[in-house]
């Protein structure tokens, strides 16, 4: 196994990572031989059809699971237990039903020991950012799916970590709101030099947000190709529709994924050992 050498600017390095989950007597390989560099400050989109192990990379980066083979380095060190440098927005929002929206968003701040006054101010700011100011004192069960996602996004940003892991965060949102939040996310990440690992199966979203787009395929998931966005980091998401370079990038992604989309995942045999 040849380990990738650590270059300056690298934050996360996956070297020939394979992850196999035991399911009773059977086992299931989610990703196989994944080698990937994530540079500090990049927005890395993990793109591919459902069920090809994209979320597994997030769980590895969060330190929730360890690789079966291979190595994950974070900031030059091998992972050991939970990664204290990441904030994770999971696919299910996992908001606490016993807390109001404001209470939920404030959880990371409470844990960090932020004073009540500062917390209130910060929570109000974050709720305004995701457009939930009017729902601060609502409980999660009173919110729509999209609003819950926005609350989870606000909670993610409250954690103030250098790396953000997002698992299909904008899936349940309408197109306009999605664009608004994408713009906000991009702005926040650029301003604070956040590194982002972002899972999606939406090609348009990937093309818009990615600095680097990692295209996954198959079962178990392997990296088909890593494509750099030709557009600069300070691109304006609202103007992308008119940019031919963006069209070319989007088309390249479509071309990569179309064979995979043409074959339904069920017919490609799941690898069971």
């Amino acid at each position: 196994m040849g380990l990738l050498e650590v270059r300056s600017g690298d934050l996360v390095i996956f070297t020939e990572v394979t992850k196999t989950f035991a399911l009773g007597a059977a086992s299931f390989t989610a990703i196989k031989d994944v080698t990937l560099r994530v540079r500090r400050g990049d927005i890395v989109i993990l793109l591919g059809p459902s069920g090809c192990g994209k979320s597994t990379l997030l769980n590895l980066t969060a330190g929730l699971i360890a690789p079966t083979h291979g190595q994950v380095l974070y900031a030059g060190r091998p992972m050991d237990g939970l990664n204290a440098s990441v904030a994770y927005m999971t696919q299910a929002d996992h908001l606490f039903p016993w807390r109001t929206v404001a209470g939920n968003v404030g959880v990371p701040l409470e844990i960090a020991g932020v004073s009540r006054a500062q917390r209130t101010a910060r929570v109000a700011e974050l709720l305004a950012l995701v457009g939930l100011s009017d729902f601060a004192s609502s409980y999660p069960n009173q919110l729509s799916g999209g609003m819950r996602k926005r609350a989870a996004l606000a909670r993610l940003l409250a954690a103030d970590r250098e790396t953000l892991l997002l698992d299909e965060p904008f899936g349940a949102l309408d197109a306009q709101l999605r664009l608004t939040l994408q713009v906000e996310l991009l702005q926040v990440c650029r301003a604070l030099n956040k590194t982002v690992l972002f899972v999606t199966h939406d090609i348009e979203e990937a093309a818009a947000l990615a600095d680097v787009c990692v295209v996954f395929q198959g079962l178990p998931g392997t990296i088909a190709k890593v494509i750099e966005n030709p557009l600069p980091k300070d691109r304006d998401l609202r103007a992308l529709r008119f940019d031919p370079r963006h069209h070319a990038f989007t088309n390249e992604l479509w071309a990569m994924l179309t064979p995979d989309l043409a074959v339904p995942p069920a017919s490609s045999a799941a690898q069971m050992h």
Binding site: H94, W98, V107
Partner: protein, 260 residues
């Protein structure tokens, strides 16, 4: 909605009146008055108890016993439930012992408690507390064991320590179970107190029941029973109110129209 509710209340009242009328007529005409008394006689007996201040005196003693037993047993049940819920090993070690003790009808301990604590108020409080303890303990334990692992993981990633886990996830999510246990316990706290009084006492609603029965005063027995039912209902409402106050998110759930 209101007409529906009014109809409900009117029907209930009619049912109650019919029941009382049947009782009254049946017992006086049928000659069962010695065994089942009659609503009017019970009313008189109850009124007499109220006016003489005896009801308030006895009811306050039973209330104090049941309440203290409920508080002590419930508190201990919650503490032990959370403790064992968080420590799998300890729970596994203690499991057979707790099951054995749980299967024992707690009332059977009453004679022992008389030996240990005498026939004063302490013995009734402890009997009520022991009964309540297991119900609250088992529910709290189940609640703590059922805390979503995902929610725990989510908050761990945020950097939570064991204290945070407990106060921010485990306790709030187990509270539904705790209250299920507490609500179940209300009648049992009363059973503990009243059985204790029936066995050995000269005060309390349980004593009132057994005293009246020993004098063949059926109306007096029923009057004391009415008092016990009223007490149980008051305690139930108190638990429900506390529940509503401590779990505001449940209220919003109840009011919400159901959609899928």
């Amino acid at each position: 909605m209101t007409t529906h509710r009014n109809l409900l209340y009117v029907t209930r009242l009619a049912f109650l009146l019919a029941l009382l009328a049947l009782w009254q007529v049946g017992s006086t005409r049928g000659g069962f008055e010695f065994y089942i008394s009659s609503p009017i006689a019970i009313g008189e007996s109850f009124w007499h108890l109220l006016r003489s201040g005896a009801f308030l005196f006895h009811a306050s003693i039973t209330t104090a016993e049941a309440f203290l037993g409920f508080a002590i047993g419930g508190g201990a049940g919650m503490l032990v439930g959370v403790g064992l819920g968080r420590s799998k090993f300890l729970a596994d070690v203690l499991d057979p012992f707790l099951t054995a003790f749980y299967s024992l009808p707690k009332v059977a301990l009453a004679p022992l408690f008389v030996l240990w604590f005498g026939i004063g108020i302490e013995m009734k409080i402890i009997l009520a507390a022991v009964t309540v303890f297991f119900l609250v303990f088992l529910n709290t334990y189940t609640g703590v064991r059922n805390v979503s692992r995902e929610q725990l993981t989510v908050i761990r990633i945020m950097g939570a320590n064991e204290g945070h886990l407990l106060t921010k996830v485990v306790l709030p999510s187990a509270i539904t179970w705790v209250f299920a246990g507490l609500r179940l316990s209300v009648p049992y706290a009363l059973i503990g107190a009243i059985v204790g009084e029936i066995i050995a006492s000269n005060r309390g609603l349980g004593f009132l029941v057994s005293d009246a029965a020993s004098k063949f005063d059926t109306a007096g027995v029923f009057a004391a029973l009415v008092g016990i039912v009223m007490l149980a209902m008051v305690l139930n409402v108190a638990v429900k109110q506390t529940e509503r106050w401590l779990m505001p998110w449940k209220a919003s759930e109840g009011l919400r129209e159901v959609t899928v």
